[in-house]
């Protein structure tokens, strides 16, 4: 089933080719690696993208999405096969193509020192947009992207979402016939993501252009009119989103936990069980994708738990998870490993992390404004918000990496900036981008961090072996850390942070830049540590990950938007129109000010969802 071609949407082959604005025929791409066999980035890819449609390219990291888009843009030459755009060959006619398409690379090439309007003028000059058309064109793009107010601001000073919108505006400067977008929404907050998609659809409808977009956000695939799934350089499946979700009919359930149970418990139990392809926590329930339509195995896995099973509408993510071949030993986490369990001292009512009226100024810029919160022992506490919200600043102040301008901080009774080295010994810290020593091997990294935290001799050996087993790092033992695949880097970073069995774990954006699989695995692990009594403070810009936290704080522009359990936060935006809001909805509602934030502080939410939440 994995290689299935789902072609019920497409008409006859000849018909498709006529309309095709981009087509690839048997494209292969190899990258030479010194001293090793070449890496097969793309293998025998054939596809078509049509005019007036949004064609999505979906796949995990390293699937070959960027390589394919770069070949289409004329930046890379395929090893074999050919790509035609607008009827032109991507290699031979690249200049002609480049004057007729718009391209937005992953890290869009905005000149940080240039203002918004200067960036647009630059691309207008480069694309040869006639002077008379410009004013009109700028007006339209600026109003579309909502950037009209910021024309004089330098690109470097824009927020992540605004940067992406400006990048898109630059790519659209000369009404292209085809738009190539490489992961345009990475690291962008939900509002900006929604706006970007709105712009793309406006263009498709008004100008009837073709859009070829790659994304790692599976929910975005559903917004495309046609989806191609890439996996490890191969085209795994294609079709319209409905054809994907249609196959999942009757294979998706929601498990609603009974009052006393946290969804987390059920989730931990279900993951990796026989017959279960995927499990996630969504809106306080556990979403389960089964291997087949029968519910028996799910029921068996849930044996002894008070949980209701409800059928659910399948979505693209479910289909994707079912489609991608699961690697061996993927979800081996937290099974039969009880070493740290139960040894944490103190009751769960202890306040481990506490801040009051925390402020941080950088010059005139208020990065954090009057932040107050506390975290109890054994809790998973999330700091959420888009890039630039002040999450990392808050986080760095907590860890003692940055002095606060005013306010109080205490972590396990200490201010880490001032207190001695001893106070830091019980902490685990995992920095953004999995800060490892790239040149050192996996073993050397682990042994270094172990020794730093006072492990030695037998104990060190024992813990390193534990890390190899627990995180499946054994095969990478002598490999330099920079050469590890993204997911394993994350595992190694986490292993290093956990080697000395810390009481408190600080994790800064642990899931950014890793694919959906690694993210699922990561949260599973975090859950199992929290079950053992470790306090976890974690930042993320993925709103849906908030579901895994016990409580969280949503930040935007340095301010607290809301704080509470996931259920409480979702309840804020519940309305008759949207009876089951997602975290994204909640964030958008909060950020747009359509919700009364004060209601949370007063703790007025008191309904069915709330009761199921974490007040137990």
């Amino acid at each position: 089933m994995t290689d299935a071609q789902i072609n019920d949407d497409q008409g006859t082959k000849a018909d498709a080719q006529e309309q095709a604005i981009l087509s690839a025929e048997c494209v292969c791409k190899e990258f030479a690696v010194k001293g090793k066999p070449p890496v097969q980035a793309l293998q025998d890819i054939s596809l078509h993208a049509l005019k007036g449609r949004v064609t999505g390219l979906v796949g995990a990291d390293g699937a070959g999405k960027t390589t394919l888009i770069r070949i289409a843009a004329g930046l890379l030459v395929p090893t074999s096969g050919r790509v035609t755009l607008l009827g032109l060959d991507s290699v031979a006619d690249s200049l002609e193509i480049q004057s007729r398409i718009g391209y937005m690379p992953q890290k869009f090439g905005l000149y940080q020192d240039l203002t918004v309007i200067e960036n647009m003028e630059l691309y207008a000059d480069l694309q040869g947009v006639p002077g008379a058309e410009r004013a009109h064109r700028y007006d339209r793009l600026l109003s579309m992207t909502d950037l009209a107010k910021y024309t004089k601001r330098r690109a470097g000073a824009l927020s992540g979402g605004m940067k992406q919108k400006l990048g898109l505006a630059c790519a659209l400067i000369k009404s292209p016939e085809l738009l190539l977008l490489d992961e345009p929404t990475v690291g962008v907050d939900p509002i900006s993501r929604r706006e970007l998609w709105k712009i793309v659809y406006e263009l498709v409808e008004q100008d009837n252009i073709g859009v070829f977009v790659s994304t790692a956000y599976l929910d975005e695939a559903e917004r495309c009119s046609y989806v191609l799934v890439l996996h490890q350089g191969k085209l795994l499946a294609e079709g319209n989103p409905e054809s994907f979700t249609g196959r999942m009919k009757d294979r998706v359930s929601l498990v609603v936990p009974a009052q006393a149970d946290r969804p987390r418990h059920i989730y931990t139990r279900l993951v990796g069980s026989r017959g279960i392809v995927d499990a996630t926590i969504r809106s306080g329930r556990v979403r389960v994708v089964r291997e087949d339509t029968s519910e028996t195995q799910l029921a068996a896995a849930l044996d002894g738990m008070h949980a209701k099973i409800e059928p659910a509408e399948p979505n693209f993510e479910d289909a994707f998870m079912a489609l991608i071949p699961q690697t061996e030993g993927h979800f081996q986490v937290g099974r039969g490993e009880g070493e740290g369990a139960g040894k944490m001292q103190g009751s769960n009512d202890d306040i481990v992390v506490n801040t009051r009226e925390l402020c941080k100024l950088f010059g005139d810029f208020q990065a954090v404004k009057k932040l107050s919160f506390s975290v109890n022992r054994g809790e998973i506490f999330g700091l959420l918000g888009p890039n630039g919200a002040g999450k990392s600043t808050t986080f760095r102040m907590l860890c003692g990496l940055l002095p606060a301008t005013s306010g109080e901080i205490s972590v396990a009774g200490h201010n880490l900036l001032r207190s001695g080295a001893k106070a830091r010994a019980r902490l685990g810290y995992m920095a953004q981008q999995f800060s490892l020593y790239g040149q050192l091997s996996t073993l050397e990294n682990l042994s270094f961090f172990g020794k730093v935290y006072g492990l030695s001799g037998k104990r060190l050996k024992q813990r390193i072996n534990w890390a190899f087993d627990e995180f499946g790092l054994g095969q990478w033992r002598d490999k330099a850390a920079f050469a590890l695949p993204g997911g394993y880097k994350q595992r190694l970073a986490m292993a290093a942070a956990l080697l000395h069995e810390p009481d408190i774990l600080f994790l800064d954006e642990p899931t950014s830049g890793v694919d959906p699989f690694a993210r699922r695995e990561f949260w599973l692990r975090i859950n199992s540590f929290a079950e053992q009594g470790v306090t976890v403070v974690v930042t993320t810009h993925f709103m849906e990950e908030a579901e895994y936290c016990d409580r969280m704080l949503i930040m935007s522009q340095g301010e607290t938007l809301a704080m509470g359990t996931p259920a409480e936060i979702r309840d804020l935006v519940r309305s008759p129109q949207n009876p089951r809001p997602t975290m994204d909805d909640a964030f958008i509602g909060l950020a747009e000010g359509t919700v009364d934030k004060t209601s949370i502080a007063a703790g007025t939410a008191g309904n069915e969802e709330m009761a199921q939440g974490d007040l137990s």
Binding site: G74, I101, Q106, Y111, E118, L122, D125, G128, R154
Partner: protein, 374 residues
């Protein structure tokens, strides 16, 4: 054609704004040259003045005192009169003086008798160059004194053959006149190679290069878009240095502005070509900085005749120096400043620079690719 001009306008405006708004470009292009000019102008000086020397003389005779007075009057020396040889030696060991001049007790009487009257000079030879200069100064004082005595008729005829020496172009033999014109070469190298390589590597690192490649820019556009702004920046740096050299440091400028502009343009283009060639291959700022220092800056410093005379180096180094553009421009710059428009020097060196500019820029053009690989 209109499209070409439009593209050029866009890319040039962008480069200009970037240079103006990026502090590190300004630092490298304007602050660094000034810093170097002042360090070299004030700090690097081979002319010795006020050299401390010890004079040992027990001779109270008139002639001895007359000779010592000559030393006292010289701007080159600062005198320490000491009683004994031992004391003088301890001064030289403790580095309080650099040389000892010793007159024997019977210096005056020997001279009167017409027999040999030695003047002994001991220099600290650790700094050989300085020692040689001190020897030269002392020799001049002694020779002048004996010539004066001859003219006054106090002594017999002078030596059969005497030397009349003249130093052309730099009459006072001031090393500043030599250092600063050479330094201008170093400053232009810095802008042409280091800055260019860094800026392009940064475009790769920030991903702006990838976006540029997927526009209808031709390879020529990309090349010109980099050459023109940095050419202007380099020429500004050069102009500023020349002005500072002439006004602040009083270095003579005897050539014509036209020749200076023409030849420095050739040098700038050769350096830029080299810088662009480097950066076409290197996409990481760290590596670009390292390589441009090793392959651009160090040769411009040591293999160009900037401070150390190339003729005196071993043949291997002389051969290597022929591929260093800075070598040709150092010669041109020295000639333009001190000697004037001497085309027998300027023309051959200028032609070599022109050839290098053509070769490097041609290679850079071939190396620039509109693709991400090789």
């Amino acid at each position: 054609m209109i499209l070409f001009l439009m593209r050029m306008r866009g890319i040039l405006k962008k480069e200009a704004l970037q240079i103006l708004r990026d502090p590190s470009s300004i630092a490298l292009a304007l602050v660094m040259p000034l810093l170097l000019l002042f360090i070299f102008g004030y700090g690097v000086n081979l002319d010795a003045e006020h050299v401390p020397i010890a004079i040992v003389s027990d001779d109270r005779g008139e002639m001895a005192q007359d000779l010592i007075a000559r030393f006292e009057l010289s701007p080159h020396f600062e005198l320490y009169q000491v009683k004994s040889e031992l004391e003088a030696e301890s001064l030289i060991l403790s580095r309080d003086v650099d040389a000892i001049v010793r007159l024997q007790d019977d210096f005056s009487s020997q001279l009167l008798r017409g027999t040999q009257a030695p003047v002994q000079l001991i220099v600290n030879g650790i700094d050989a160059n300085r020692a040689r200069l001190i020897q030269g100064y002392v020799r001049n004082i002694v020779n002048n004194w004996s010539r004066m005595r001859q003219e006054r008729g106090e002594a017999g005829a002078g030596p059969p053959v005497s030397v009349s020496q003249r130093i052309w172009f730099n009459e006072g033999a001031e090393s500043r006149n030599f250092m600063i014109p050479g330094l201008i070469t170093l400053i232009m190298t810095l802008i042409g190679i280091l800055l260019t390589a860094l800026v392009i590597a940064r475009e790769w690192e920030r991903g702006t290069m990838e976006a540029m490649l997927v526009t209808p820019l031709r390879r020529v556009d990309i090349l010109l878009g980099k050459i023109i702004p940095y050419y202007i920046l380099g020429m500004l740096g050069m102009g500023m240095s020349v002005v500072v050299a002439v006004t602040v440091f009083q270095v003579p400028f005897r050539g014509s502005i036209t020749a200076l502009l023409l030849l420095s343009s050739l040098f700038m283009l050769a350096s830029l070509g080299f810088g662009l060639l480097l950066s076409a291959a290197i996409r990481i700022q760290f590596v670009a900085a390292q390589i441009s220092i090793v392959a651009g800056f160090l040769p411009a410093f040591f293999l160009s005749g900037l401070i150390f005379d190339l003729d005196s180096t071993p043949p291997v180094i002389q051969i290597v120096s022929h591929i260093v553009p800075a070598k040709y421009f150092v010669t041109i710059s020295h000639t333009l400043f001190m000697a004037g428009d001497i085309w027998s020097v300027l023309l051959p060196n200028g032609l070599v620079l022109a050839a290098m500019a053509v070769i490097f820029l041609g290679l850079a053009y071939r190396k620039i690719s509109k693709r991400l690989e090789g």
